[in-house]
């Protein structure tokens, strides 16, 4: 019960969420469509950028998982009122939040593994690069899940939420250098994009895989920002879940 956190039932709720998502297997498969489409363009127009795009695809897919948390949490709260069923039960609010976030991660991970297999085929990763990839992807998941969950609680209507989901995805997944290399970003903008969690993750993995060059300062900035954002936002997500379990 560190910090008063209670996790009883969260594993079962996570498994429930996985089960819900697996019944919607088409949504899981279509999750790979955006990175897949971009890969085709890149393979035709600039095949040398394929490994960078694949890393970007993995980061983007992980960010999308958080956006699925947004949609799922909003849907079961607004449309189904299932949050009330679970909040008025021994399952803790933190277990509820982590259950949704973890359920989405497990359910939507397999399509990302396809990208990983292609990456490993085109550009085998060293152990350090593989560890950097796993760490960075988990950090992106933590950031995106927390943002997704918090945003999901701010609205009373699904239709209002959809544009925000699209906005966040584009703001974090398309605009910054996730699918394209950091070297294309002007020097004066680099510090800024390295504190954006998605582009920081992509830059760090690319650097670890030898696809990008980062200075020591840039590496520290990107790694520090990503770790801090993941930790702070995930803790905030837990705090917010506890707060939202009871309306004021």
């Amino acid at each position: 019960m560190a910090f008063g956190l209670r996790w009883a039932g969260s594993g079962v709720f996570l498994a429930t969420e996985i089960r819900v998502q697996l019944h919607e297997w088409l949504a899981i498969v279509t999750g790979t469509l955006t990175p897949g489409a971009l890969l085709i363009f890149v393979a035709i127009l600039a095949p040398d950028l394929l490994p960078v795009t694949l890393v970007g695809g993995l980061v983007y897919s992980m960010f999308l998982i958080g956006q699925r948390v947004l949609n799922e949490a909003a849907y079961i709260r607004i449309d189904h009122k299932l949050n009330e069923l679970y909040h008025a039960s021994p399952l803790s609010p933190e277990g509820y939040f982590v259950g949704i976030a973890g359920g989405m991660l497990v359910a939507y991970l397999p399509p990302s593994l396809v990208l990983l297999v292609i990456l490993e085929w085109l550009h085998p990763l060293s152990l350090v690069a593989a560890l950097a990839l796993v760490g960075c992807l988990l950090a992106v998941w933590a950031v995106s899940s927390a943002i997704g969950y918090v945003v999901s609680t701010l609205f009373k209507d699904m239709k209002t939420i959809w544009p925000y989901s699209a906005l966040l995805t584009n703001l974090f997944g398309i605009l910054p250098p996730v699918f394209y290399p950091l070297r294309l970003v002007p020097m004066e903008w680099r510090a800024l994009v390295l504190v954006v969690p998605t582009s920081a993750a992509a830059a760090l993995v690319n650097a670890a895989a030898g696809l990008e060059t980062l200075t020591r300062g840039e590496t520290i900035l990107a790694a520090g920002a990503l770790a801090l954002e993941a930790f702070v936002l995930f803790i905030f997500g837990i705090y917010w879940a506890r707060r939202m379990a009871r309306e004021r």
């Binding site: 209670r6 009883a8 039932g9 079962v12 709720f13 498994a15 429930t16 089960r19 819900v20 998502q21 019944h23 919607e24 079961i76 449309d79 189904h80 009122k81 299932l82 009330e84 069923l85 679970y86 909040h87 008025a88 039960s89 021994p90 399952l91 803790s92 379990a245 009871r246 309306e247 004021r248």
Partner: protein, 308 residues
């Protein structure tokens, strides 16, 4: 442990919104439920029933007042209250991409009920709610009534000591409603306490051992349905068609209540002949029947339960 499953004292709730007026949803509600009782909160839409239920089930913080569930404070000790309660939310729906069997089982497991017990209770609950035939179909393919039954089955299966049901039979056909009533009776026989909100008068009458009539955030009546009927000053109702304009003729016979185009006179058997005679002399048709909870509600609240 206290003999009371729930005790509420002077509960008030004011909703404040930016730019809008403050809405006083509860204005000092006090009520108590003994263990094993079935109690209804009866009221029109917007009377404050759901707000009370949400506060009692730890989902909403009151502006003032206290609610204790099995002696635990719902505001200060929610983590102690939650294992003791289960809630059917108003307009709640099961996970569309789970089957009713998965829905009930997963919920029980998340509440910490061991695997075998959860399996047994799932089957029992689905059977009681008449969902065996659709137990393995995704809920998205079920009818509205079947979805509602799946929600009720989910909560019933918990056998929690205190169950809150917010309009649990909305959208159910008469047979399914009776199935819910039977399950609720069965649960209270086993020791659970049930607090439900409804605006179905027949449901409140058939199911509740006591009822609270709530209007504009206040409790206007507390007692049995029979007491409510008795309180209005008669056992019979003479319903006079198009009697509204003649109200003054009948006011001396007892309480008069307008209902649609009819005028209802609540009276005792000794005055029936006089009223009927007067009605016929004025060329008005009239029928006699026993006083219903609806009349009692109309008299206590001053408006029909369906009036917005």
């Amino acid at each position: 442990m206290s003999q009371e499953a729930l005790h509420a004292g002077d509960v008030r709730k004011v909703y404040r919104s930016r730019g809008g007026p403050a809405i006083e949803a509860l204005r000092g509600v006090s009520l108590a439920l003994r263990r094993g009782e079935r109690v209804s909160l009866l009221g029109r839409n917007g009377a404050g029933k759901t707000t009370f239920l949400r506060i009692a089930s730890t989902l909403l913080i009151p502006t003032s007042g206290t609610i204790r569930v099995f002696d635990f404070d719902v505001v200060g000790e929610p983590e102690k209250v939650r294992p003791l309660i289960a809630v059917v939310p108003q307009e709640g729906k099961p996970f569309f991409h789970l089957t009713p069997r998965e829905q009930v089982y997963c919920y029980l497991r998340a509440r910490g009920i061991p695997r075998e017990a959860a399996k047994a209770r799932t089957e029992e609950s689905l059977t009681k709610m008449g969902l065996e035939e659709v137990a393995d179909r995704l809920s998205v393919t079920l009818s509205g009534g079947q979805k509602q039954r799946a929600m009720v089955a989910t909560v019933m299966a918990t056998e929690a000591p205190l169950l809150f049901l917010d309009e649990p039979t909305i959208g159910l056909d008469p047979f399914a409603r009776r199935a819910v009533w039977d399950v609720l009776r069965d649960l209270t026989r086993k020791g659970s306490t049930v607090l439900l909100t409804t605006h179905y008068l027949d449901e409140a009458e058939a199911l509740s051992e006591r009822l609270y009539i709530v209007e504009e955030g206040r409790v206007l009546f507390e007692g049995r349905a029979e007491d409510a009927k008795r309180q209005i000053g008669g056992t019979l109702r003479v319903s006079i068609e198009n009697g509204g304009p003649h109200r003054d003729l009948f006011e001396s016979f007892g309480q008069t209540v307008a209902e649609g185009t009819s005028l209802n006179v609540i009276t005792g058997p000794e005055r029936i002949h006089e009223i009927m005679d007067l009605a016929f002399r004025n060329r008005l048709s009239a029928t006699v029947g026993p006083v219903t909870l609806e009349e009692a509600f109309l008299t206590i609240v001053g408006r029909s339960i369906d009036e917005e």
